[in-house]
Subunit: 337 residues, 2 copies
Amino acid sequence: MSEMVKVAVDAMGGDNAPAETVKGAVEAANENKHVKVFLVGARKCIEKELKKYEYRPQQVEVIDATEVIETAEPPVMAIRKKKDSSIVKALQLVKNGECDAFVSAGSSGAVLVGGQVIVGRLKGVERPPLAPLIPTEKGAALLIDCGANVDARPSHLVQFARMGSVYMESVMKVKKPRVAIVNIGAEEEKGNALVKETFPLLKACKDIHFIGSIEARDIPAGYADVIVCEAFVGNVILKLYEGVGGTLIKMVKTGMLASLRSKIGALLVKPALKSTLRKFDLEQYGGAPLLGLNGLVVKTHGSSKSIEIKNSVLQCVTFKEQKINDKIKEKITLGDE
Amino acid sequence: MSEMVKVAVDAMGGDNAPAETVKGAVEAANENKHVKVFLVGARKCIEKELKKYEYRPQQVEVIDATEVIETAEPPVMAIRKKKDSSIVKALQLVKNGECDAFVSAGSSGAVLVGGQVIVGRLKGVERPPLAPLIPTEKGAALLIDCGANVDARPSHLVQFARMGSVYMESVMKVKKPRVAIVNIGAEEEKGNALVKETFPLLKACKDIHFIGSIEARDIPAGYADVIVCEAFVGNVILKLYEGVGGTLIKMVKTGMLASLRSKIGALLVKPALKSTLRKFDLEQYGGAPLLGLNGLVVKTHGSSKSIEIKNSVLQCVTFKEQKINDKIKEKITLGDE
């Protein structure tokens, strides 16, 4: 591929900005010469950070933005008022076609609202879902939707299933991705009103490989590739993954330090254990794409380090190369016929 | 306490019935001479199992029931038609006051529906929630509701908060239990329609210690004692706890067996690790009570072994001793004034 992939990076977003955001963006540019990063934020701060690194200057550009949207701000208002914020300016670059994608570790609310309001939805897409990859025993599954739209309708969930299938097939190279809807039992008649209404609609979709309901217990085991749910449930799943994982790993560590005998054992076990548990690290996949927009918006964790920023930027390359948005448009349009 | 606590046990319910159900019931009777267990199910099967054990005969009675409700059966229909099933007959014993409580590892749906239809709700209780204890870093939290009522209304959630507070205070001896509502952000304005409506109602309750929203990430860390949510979300939380825990422990084991070095380490680490991880075992607490009924109904895991059946039966003693139902009635009535 010879065409450049242009990615705007929110240099001011997240707990570790601008040090880690700038570092991650530069690392991505150094790793792939077809990437150009646009670091959006306070020029002076960014330039100070940039001095620490070597890079090809034609691959890194700074776009000045004087305001910052804080996580606690009500997102709709912030997007409307802070026209010179890094988030709004970066999203404008995507809207105008100057950039292909935007990566931010900043305010989730502002990124999600801004993505919809400024970049806009693809024709036919009712609601753009936030779709992170989560680790499973067998690799990764796409959790869709995970925070963009609470109180969704059945037709939204059907679109999520379609968009998620495109993503898993084209980006993650999963053939015939297995789509399941999160439910409280395996039987078709189980569930709340939303799930009961959505189930037959998914069953009727000929363009996806729907395998039925999935109970939350079976998600980590890797029973499905595309996990469809409304955003409130998706958010609970994502955060509980993190919470239970964190608590258990903390307890394993405490257990290992309980006696001299176990301390010696811990030293022997540590390297093997570390490499196994890395497979279950939520952050290895970079950010979560907000699918169904006229461009790509990727939200990474607020506590992202340079590695996640870098992976998120590089993810935008695959997204563009694979023409995900064209495929989504096609699938949504054909699906509706 | 000299009064006997009479507990009906569904001898036919669960994957390991009747062997483990009978064993657990007998163990409970042997451990506490103020317990009388009524083993409900196929008399011949039960008597065959009973022959394996020693017990005081006045503490164990068999009640014949010729039918069994299977897990896959639609619960409303099963309760209506199978009048001679172990579940229906046991619930009748509670309704008639012949037993104080009922413990079952059988069909969740049938136990929940039967509890409401046959035993009936306490005056003032709109919906009886299923409320299991889940392990946290700091001990245990009550997850309420976890499967009894999907598509709940705000007034139901307020009652769940009150009933859960009574339980944690009286059974688990937590002073001023911290009540939180599961949400997708910490701020008051976040959430779906149900949470947004419920939040101010909980905030206005003077008889509970409401601490606001809890994100799923913070549940395992033990930030709250009573975790209020509607049943669909509660079920997802409970089952994901199990799923992520199971997968991680499996991965820890695999990691430990990766090399000779780590295998030796594993031998040294194992005893300490085992005792630490036991604290995070969902099943240590016995079954989940269905609160707010004219009697006590406890649902234990379908795969329960005798230890869970025993713990569930013994839990009924505390429940009766602490007069939980009187306290719930009082709290619900006063709260509504």
